[in-house]
Each structure stands twice: as C-alpha cells, then as structure tokens.
C-alpha cells in the first residue's frame, strides 16, 4: 500500500544497481538519519544517549567489521575485541606523541594499526577454516589482551593501568575528555558510523563484495574465476580489523572516556559481537545494526525502561529478568529465523510489497 515498487521504473543499469532501489527505502533511511542527527541530540536525555545510543553505535560498527569477515567472507573470528583494543591503544599512543593533530584523524588512522595486526593473525586462514580458524583467532584475542595489561608503555605507565583520555578539541569545542558535551560526542560517533557504514555498503555491493562472497560460498569455483584466495581473505581481515579498530578507538575516546582493557576488550566482548551478527544476520549490514541493538541496547532498555514505565522491580531482579528475557528472545529468533533479524526484516518487506495478496 505504502511500500510498493510498482511504477518505479529503472531506465539505467546504474539505477538498477543502486543500494536502495526503492523510493520508500530511501525515504525511510532519510527519516532515520534525521531522527538520529537532529531529534535524538535535541530531545533525548544524556542518559539515553550515553547508555543506549552510544554503545549501540559503537557495537554496530564493530559488528559491521566482523560481518565483513564472517558474514561476507565466511571466516569465523573470535578476536574482534582484541582488534578493537589495538585500535584504542594505537589511538592513545598516537595522540600522546602528536597531540597537535586532530583526534578524529588519529581515531581513523588507528584502524590501520589494527588492520595490520588483523592481517598478521589472518595469515593462517588460507590453510585452516571453521572452528580451527576460530581457535587461531582466539590466540590473537588472548595475546593482545595480555599485551594490553602487561605492556605499561601502551597505557603510558598510568597507575590506573587504563587509558586516560585527554581533552582534545575540534574547532575549539572539546570532543573528548571529561569536559566534552555528550551531544557533541554523540554526533561525532554517529557521523563516523554513518560514514563507515556507507563505505562498507559500497564495498560489499561492488567487485570486492562479490569476491568475498564467492570465496565464502564456493572457494574452489572462486579460484577458477581468477580470484586469489589468500589475497581475498587477507583483504577481508584487513578491512574487518580496520572497522574493529576504529570502533575500539571510538569506544574508549568518545563513548567511555577511559577504559580498563580487562573489561571492554575481553573475550566476552568478542563473543557478544559474534552473537550480534549471528542474531542480526550474517552477510547483512542492516543485520549488524539490528544485532547490535538487540544485544547491546535491549538489556539497558529492559533494565531501566520497565521501572520507568511504572513496573516496580528491584535492581537485582531486573538483572536476572534481563538475562532470562534476552536468552529466551535469542532462542526464539534462532528458531523462527536462523538467518537472523535481517532476514525477518526482508521477509516483512517482501510481504508488504505485495500486500494484501499472498504472492
């Protein structure tokens, strides 16, 4: 009714290859962006921005990174949190040595460091696949996590053993550190995520995306198309770790403003990001966002949202309830749709397109 492709003719291949070929989709995207960029900073409180929106955005970015590796190229990785950490510490060292250069440049540049580390740990992927590769990347996770704790140089010998985020400004406005306004930090984070999502979408819809998916679906046939497996897999590791690294730097510098490595870059985080893309949908960028929303934002909403709606539950009870609800929802979604929320979304759109007819 309001979601139809009838009457929307494509007269060029470029229009047909568009990422959002339907006008309704483009309008929807514009509305979402408008809400995210204007309405949320204006009307949402600090609390909502800090505990719901910011973790959601950070983990969305990390999930996109992992999705490029696992969903698009078919290589399982359990080192995401480690690669995020590399980005965070690289950014810390860079801004320590070159405080004059804008922090945003260093946040983006820190991705290259984690990309390099990712490529290094991606080297075994030519020979091993599946669970064995997962274990190899687990080694990366443990090794990197060890580095973050045991090498004091990485955290500038701070007695706290953590990154202490310095105040850095953009056009005179502080964007990191204790004095930065939450709305400013949110807008920086949002811009970075939107930009990088756009780039990722371009990448996966083009030649490299097809190359990755070809290797995922049938590596033998991919090789016969002239695709070199090692190059393809290493490129996927590089791009994926780049995204993870930037997400890590954003996490520490923009969202948390100081973090202890043991907590945020631990193996638990790697698993959570893997769950995000499994529940959200492997091989789908929208799925990365849905999975991140489900795993990172829903617990907070349940925990604080229920009391806010007037359902009085104590903190500890809420915590337990939270685990039960999330657990039940994960099982429910995996049974209803093993291909993730993104597939459910796709099915819903397909049904809407032909509604009220069944086919």
């Amino acid at each position: 009714m309001f979601y139809r492709d009838a009457g929307q003719y494509k007269s060029s291949y470029a229009a047909d290859r568009a990422v959002f070929p339907l006008r309704e989709d483009r309008i929807g995207l514009a509305v979402i962006l408008l809400v995210a960029f204007v309405a949320i900073p204006l009307f949402a409180g600090d609390f909502v921005i800090k505990t719901v929106m910011m973790p959601f955005l950070v983990f969305s970015l990390a999930a996109i990174g992992l999705n490029i590796l696992t969903g698009y190229t078919g290589l399982i990785s359990l080192g995401t949190a480690g690669f995020m950490g590399v980005g965070a510490y690289a950014c810390y060292k860079l801004t320590t040595y070159f405080p004059g250069v804008n922090i945003i440049v260093w946040i983006l540049a820190s991705g290259f460091f984690s990309a390099a580390v990712g490529v290094l740990f991606g080297l075994p992927s030519l020979r091993i696949k599946g669970f064995y590769l997962a274990v190899a990347t687990l080694a990366a996770q443990f090794f990197l996590q060890w580095c973050f704790i045991r090498i004091p140089w990485l955290y500038n010998y701070n007695t706290s053993g953590a990154i202490e985020v310095p105040t850095r400004t953009l056009f005179g406005v502080p964007i990191t550190g204790a004095t930065a306004a939450i709305e400013v930090r949110y807008l920086i984070l949002l811009s970075a995520v939107v930009l990088m999502t756009w780039l990722a979408s371009n990448l996966v819809h083009g030649r490299f995306g097809r190359m990755w998916m070809a290797v995922r679906d049938m590596d033998i046939a991919a090789e016969l198309m002239g695709i070199r497996l090692l190059h393809t897999k290493l490129l996927a590791f590089a791009v994926s770790s780049f995204y993870a690294g930037v997400a890590g730097a954003l996490l520490v510098f923009i969202w948390l403003g100081g973090a202890e490595a043991g907590d945020v870059f631990a193996i638990r985080q790697s698993f959570l990001i893997l769950f995000m893309i499994i529940i959200g949908g492997l091989g789908s960028l929208v799925g990365s966002f849905m999975g991140a929303a489900f795993i990172s934002a829903l617990p907070t909403i349940l925990k604080f949202g229920l009391p806010a709606m007037g359902i009085p539950i104590a903190g500890a009870t809420a915590e337990h309830l939270n685990f039960m609800v999330i657990g039940a929802l994960i099982i429910f979604f995996l049974i209803v749709e093993p291909h993730g929320l993104a597939r459910l979304w796709q099915i819903a759109k397909q049904k809407l397109r032909i509604w009220p007819f069944p086919y």
């Binding site: 291949y13 290859r17 030649r207 490299f208 097809r210 049938m218 198309m225 091989g283």
Partner: protein, 266 residues
C-alpha cells in the same frame, strides 16, 4: 553476448596439448601416460566409464592437480605447476559436475563474479562506488545481460541461485564460465541429471558458444547420443589410460571402446 567480430576459427592448430601425463595419489594411479591435444575451435569430448579419470584430467588442465609426470602445454606455454587462478588468467573456464555456484548470491551476481578478472578499478573507487567503479560496473553489467539473454534466464536474474532448480543452476554456471570469455571452456557433465528438453537446450547453447564465439570446448559427458552429435573429436579413457582417440565414428567402431562400455566375455 557481444556480436562476434567474425571469429577466425582455424581448426587444426593445437590450443592445448597433453603429453604423457600421469597422476598418482599415493599408490592410486588416476591417470597413466595420457596424451592428446585440443585444437582451436573444436568441441573435444572426453568420455569413459565411471572412475576412468576424466574429471582428474580436467583438474590437471586447470591446475587443481599437478601431474606427477608429463606436461601440459596451453597456448604454446608449458607450465610445470599451474595454479587455478593462473589458468583462469590464461583463459581457461570451467563448470563442475556437481554445480559449484555461489549459492548465497543472485544469478546476476554469480555471472558478474565471472567478470572478476576483467574488472580493474581500484580499492579507493570501490569504496566510493563512484567514477571508474560505477562505470565499470555498468559496462560489465551490459555484457552480463547479453549472456543472460543468450541463455534465456532473464526471469531469474535476481533470484538467489540456491533456490533455483537444478537445470537452471547448470545454465547459470555455464553463464558464469562464459562471462570469463574463456578461450578454452571445460564442461564437466553439463547435462548430468537433466531431462530431454533441458539436454536439448544445453546442447544448443554449447554449439552456439562454439560456433558463434569460436570458443574451444572440452566436454565430459555420459550421454553418448549427445557426445556423438556435438563433438568433433573424442578421446576415450579407461582406468586412467587412453584407449581411443578420433572422430565419433571412429571411436564408435573401436573394439576396445565397445569392450570398455559393454564388457568383454571371459
């Protein structure tokens, strides 16, 4: 596909020469001292009973296996250990006995993936999906659409290939191989498991590819009727050895071939 600019088919010039190739896996001899050649522009069938080493032969030609002995010369160039992507770069396309499509991708993307080697635009433009990247995308889409028209698969353009029936999957796989614009096309049982009508369609496509575009074709097939009708020359393998080589008529009359297929009275 693009209108052929009057292909000059000089049959007789060897495009690929297999000389004394043997292939062993431990103690198992898959191929023993096999020699034959494939001439430019011909349809060359490789036949033989199950386990005769036909697929192993194709795997040697496009670099999945490296022959234990002997050599393979393609376009006058002999390589001791060719890797599959090098074979692809040299112009060898291939379809598989069990369809090896990219199941999660649409028909269009599968065939577009076949254009991989022809696409050149760099990482930067791919990131922006603009300028050279988009021009290239459209240009190759045009080529792919020609293949889609040729194979009459317009209606499944945007269907994920995993959902297609088997006969259509085989057709898409042929399309993907054609997208590479190969000089030598290796078809491993292109008609296995098809009904009569699908076989006729596929035969028509193979002949068209060969005649309009001058693509040299090496074909493994079990349907003798198809083999006899399509191929210019036939090589027969049995237990990894070559037992006959010649035109379909010659091969049909060869006593060793008849024995191999029908068995010998003891």
């Amino acid at each position: 596909m693009r209108a052929p600019d009057t292909p000059v088919i000089v049959k007789g010039e060897a495009l690929l020469a297999v000389e004394n190739v043997s292939l062993r896996f431990g103690g198992v001899k898959a191929l023993t001292d096999v020699s034959f050649d494939i001439r430019k522009g011909e349809v060359r069938a490789i036949i033989g009973p199950n386990g005769a080493g036909k697929t192993s032969m194709l795997n040697c030609i496009n670099g999945f296996y490296h022959p234990s002995e002997g050599r393979i010369t393609f376009k006058g160039e002999t390589r001791r250990r060719m890797r599959p992507f090098e074979a692809a770069r040299g112009g060898i396309g291939r379809t598989f006995q069990n369809v090896a499509l990219f199941k999660g991708m649409t028909t269009l993307d599968n065939i577009m993936a076949g254009r991989f080697l022809k696409m050149r635009s760099g990482f930067f433009w791919q990131l922006l999906r603009y300028g050279p990247a988009m021009r290239e995308e459209v240009e190759h889409r045009r080529f792919v659409e020609d293949i889609i028209d040729f194979l009459q698969i317009q209606h499944i353009r945007k269907t994920p290939v995993g959902k297609l029936p088997y006969g259509l999957q085989k057709r898409v796989e042929l399309g993907r191989a054609l997208a590479m614009e190969p000089e030598l096309l290796l078809l491993d049982e292109p008609m296995a498991g098809m009904n009569l009508e699908e076989k006729e369609d596929m035969s028509r496509f193979i002949l068209d590819v060969n005649q309009q575009y001058g693509t040299t074709i090496a074909l493994i097939e079990h349907d003798m009727g198809v083999v006899m009708d399509l191929s210019d020359r036939v090589v027969v393998l049995e237990y990894g050895r070559k037992i006959a080589d010649g035109t379909p008529e010659e091969v049909k009359r060869d006593q060793r071939v008849i024995d191999a297929y029908l068995g010998v009275a003891h």
